[in-house]
């Protein structure tokens, strides 16, 4: 072993020392896009007790440009994010972008390229129309569908057929996530009068997906400050440590693609668990923030991520295991079903996982959470990004 490898690990341990979010709502008409991202970044700096001068680089992400019609948001937002004279990168992987943006930032710290990095993701859905942005009139293609719900609904039906899950499972997820959101002041939807009956009585939009089982359209931003061991030692609050992070991609459509449980998702999770030394995710992980834009994706991802055997994910949901007081809480924040500024949604998952292991999740804190998974996916179940964060520094 070369001398220097004995002195320092081959990768710099990465700590999350600052987290900031806007209060997500349907329309933030009072701020520009610059003002929106600034709010989240400022909150993250305050959490870390740092200033703009302490930031070495900025990594931002958002979903497709057509969502706001700003073709180079990284150019427009450089001054709002204090990036003058610093490296600034933009990441783009559709709905998973919030996760992959955080991972690109984490890798810059792990590789010792930069000591402290601000990473941020946003969407101001009220400036445009995502359903339009996802349904451009491509010539020679038969227009059959608009938006994401109709795209994913047939895959939900395929899951139900494959596993024999009762058709009530989706409503249980929506009911849980909307109740969790009531404990999260940053969540968009606060449906104080929510009942299971109301979820089950809501109209079918894309049968088998009901209105109450779909995500809202939100304006919001999320920011994190990632730093090295030196930065972590100065942190005024306990940091979250990155124990593993990975991204995987596959084509949107190919012969043999398993839309119910994509191979890229399985591989991504396996990589993260390997890095983190996790052999039994169901027992060793205390909380999960997974990207569930339509309620049925909770049981689907429980299987894809290795928390349940194939065909068994819905049983965890039905048994209450994924409730806030269950033994594997999923989306204690209320999840994407309660808050969906699309580009930011993945980063909110990563940030909420970090809040859990920092013990700073407030009313939706999972008691004693030491290890948490943040998960995002995007495109036609095409891009996956995940990280596992812990309360203790990584061992290796």
């Amino acid at each position: 072993m070369p001398h220097n490898e004995r002195l320092m690990p081959h990768k710099e341990p990465v700590a999350v020392v600052g987290i900031g979010q806007t209060r997500h709502v349907a329309a933030r008409k009072d701020v520009s896009i610059a003002g929106l991202v600034r709010e989240a970044a400022q909150c993250a700096l305050e959490d870390a007790e740092l200033t703009w001068a302490d930031i070495d680089a900025v990594v931002i992400g958002k979903a497709p440009d057509f969502f706001e019609g700003v073709m180079m948001p990284e150019l427009y937002l450089a001054d709002a994010l204090g990036a003058v004279g610093k490296p600034m990168l933009r990441v783009h992987t559709a709905g998973s972008v919030g996760g992959s943006t955080a991972l690109v930032a984490a890798n810059l710290v792990a590789a010792r390229v930069h000591g402290t990095v601000l990473t941020l993701a946003f969407e101001k859905q009220s400036e445009s129309n995502a359903m339009w942005g996802l349904s451009l009139p491509i010539p020679f293609q038969q227009p059959l569908l608009a938006g994401a719900g109709g795209f994913f609904a047939p895959h939900v039906r395929a899951y139900m057929r494959r596993t024999g899950a009762p058709d009530t499972v989706g409503s249980l997820v929506a009911y849980k996530d909307r109740r969790n959101a009531l404990k999260n002041p940053y969540a968009h939807l606060h449906e104080t009068d929510i009942t299971l009956e109301k979820v089950q009585a809501s109209p079918m939009l894309w049968d088998p997906i009901r209105y109450s089982e779909t995500c809202p359209s939100s304006d919001g931003a999320c920011a994190m400050i990632l730093t090295d061991r030196t930065g972590a030692a100065r942190s005024p609050h306990p940091p979250a440590w990155v124990h593993g992070g990975a991204m995987r991609s596959e084509p949107t459509l190919f012969a043999g693609k398993d839309f119910v449980s994509p191979q890229a998702g399985k591989d991504c999770a396996a990589d993260v668990y390997h890095q983190a030394g996790i052999t039994d995710p169901r027992r060793e992980i205390d909380a999960v923030e997974m990207y569930v834009p339509f309620s049925w994706y909770e049981p689907m991802w429980l299987e894809n991520l290795g928390f349940a055997a194939e065909g068994e994910g819905w049983k965890l949901t039905e048994a209450g295991v994924t409730e806030l007081d269950g033994d594997l809480p999923v989306n204690p924040s209320g999840g994407v079903l309660s808050t969906n500024p699309i580009g930011a949604s993945g980063m909110i998952r990563f940030a909420e996982a970090a809040l859990q292991v920092r013990g700073r999740a407030g009313a939706h804190q999972v008691d004693g959470a030491r290890r948490a998974l943040g998960h995002a996916y995007g495109g036609g179940a095409q891009f996956f990004s995940m990280w596992l964060v812990g309360a203790e520094p990584p061992q290796n």
Partner: protein, 330 residues
């Protein structure tokens, strides 16, 4: 080489912009024929104003009024104006430092010819007659001899609802309080070409034949073909006719009408594995009540005169396919 199809693709949307406090003051000012800048941490006056300091990143909110006359710092001659540009006749794109400002504003300069424009020339704003709170409230700049030297003056950023000036166009331009948002229409004009493989597929559809392509490595048949196998990364050039019948592998019932689609709801949107294809294509199911469509249903295309694609697929009346026969094709 087969004919490669092309077609225009126009993408356009009226994006909205919430302005925030600084841009709101700037555009409300233009409506009242007043140009506002913002004072940066180092004392410089930035026009158009930004919300955050370009050097220190601090929030900056100290608004100042600058002049409506200024100096051209640099320029480029635009001999052939395009639709949507500020002037229909040849003009200069100019960076103008307004009197009292330390940064330059980009706009059009109406000048008789390139030879009449030079850096250092003095210009003034020509206001649009109808002003709405937009950068186009400045119609353009025009040559104007005057002495520079105006100093910026403090401004609250607030404007009275009624303009105190007595010009004829006052009433039309002074209503409705501060400008808080704008609409920024965007339009992109593309020529779309689906490529050789898709063109072969589309040309065969004219004869109501569905022709896919087989991957030479994994032997999978792609319908529609893409010219390459996404799994193996090799070219697919063996033509294979698939269908015309197929099996519904999964579906959803669409109950909400999309504004850009002329399809009555409810309707069934299905994945259909054509016989001989290894990937399902997507189509509408008809000829059966929507609530009787099921996975495994056997279907055949229904063509209408002059249409490129089958209008929908209808049940063939065959027994349903066994789940195991299509479960890998969902």
């Amino acid at each position: 080489m087969p004919e490669v199809l092309t077609a225009p693709l126009v993408v356009e949307f009226p994006f909205t912009r919430s302005l925030g406090p600084v841009q709101s003051a700037f555009l409300t000012g233009l409506r009242a024929r007043t140009v506002l800048g913002v004072r940066a941490s180092d004392g410089r006056v930035v026009v158009p104003p930004t919300e955050y300091d370009p050097v220190t990143a601090e929030e900056i909110r100290e608004l100042v009024e600058v002049g409506t006359t200024g100096t051209v710092t640099t320029w480029a001659w635009n001999a052939r104006p395009r639709p949507g540009q500020p002037l229909g006749t040849p003009f200069a794109w100019a960076l103008v430092t307004l009197d009292g400002a330390d940064t330059a504003l980009l706009h059009a300069l109406d000048a008789p010819g390139a030879e009449s424009v030079h850096s250092g020339m003095r210009v003034r704003i020509r206001w649009a007659e109808e002003r709405t709170g937009a950068i186009t409230d400045i119609a353009c700049f025009e040559p104007y001899d005057s002495e520079p030297g105006r100093q910026p003056t403090a401004h609250s950023g607030e404007f009275a609802d009624t303009d105190t000036e007595t010009n004829a166009d006052t009433d039309a331009n002074a209503d409705a309080g501060p400008v808080t948002g704008i609409i920024a229409p965007a339009r992109l004009d593309y020529t779309y070409a689906p490529g050789r493989a898709q063109s072969r597929y589309l040309n065969a559809l004219v004869d109501r034949r569905t022709v896919g392509e087989r991957c030479p490595a994994c032997r999978k048949v792609y319908v529609p073909p893409r010219g390459a196998c996404p799994t193996c990364g090799v070219a697919t050039d063996e033509q294979v006719e698939a269908g015309p019948n197929g099996t519904v592998t999964t579906f959803c019932i669409v109950n909400i009408k999309a504004r850009n689609l002329d399809i009555e709801v409810p309707y069934v949107y299905a994945h259909i594995a054509l016989d001989g294809a290894d990937l399902a294509l997507h189509a509408r199911i008809g000829g059966i009540p929507y609530d009787q469509v099921r996975m495994g249903l056997r279907v055949a295309p229904v063509w209408t005169e002059g249409a490129r694609f089958p209008d929908h697929y209808r049940p063939t009346g065959e027994p349903d396919a066994d789940y195991d026969s299509y479960k890998e094709l969902i």
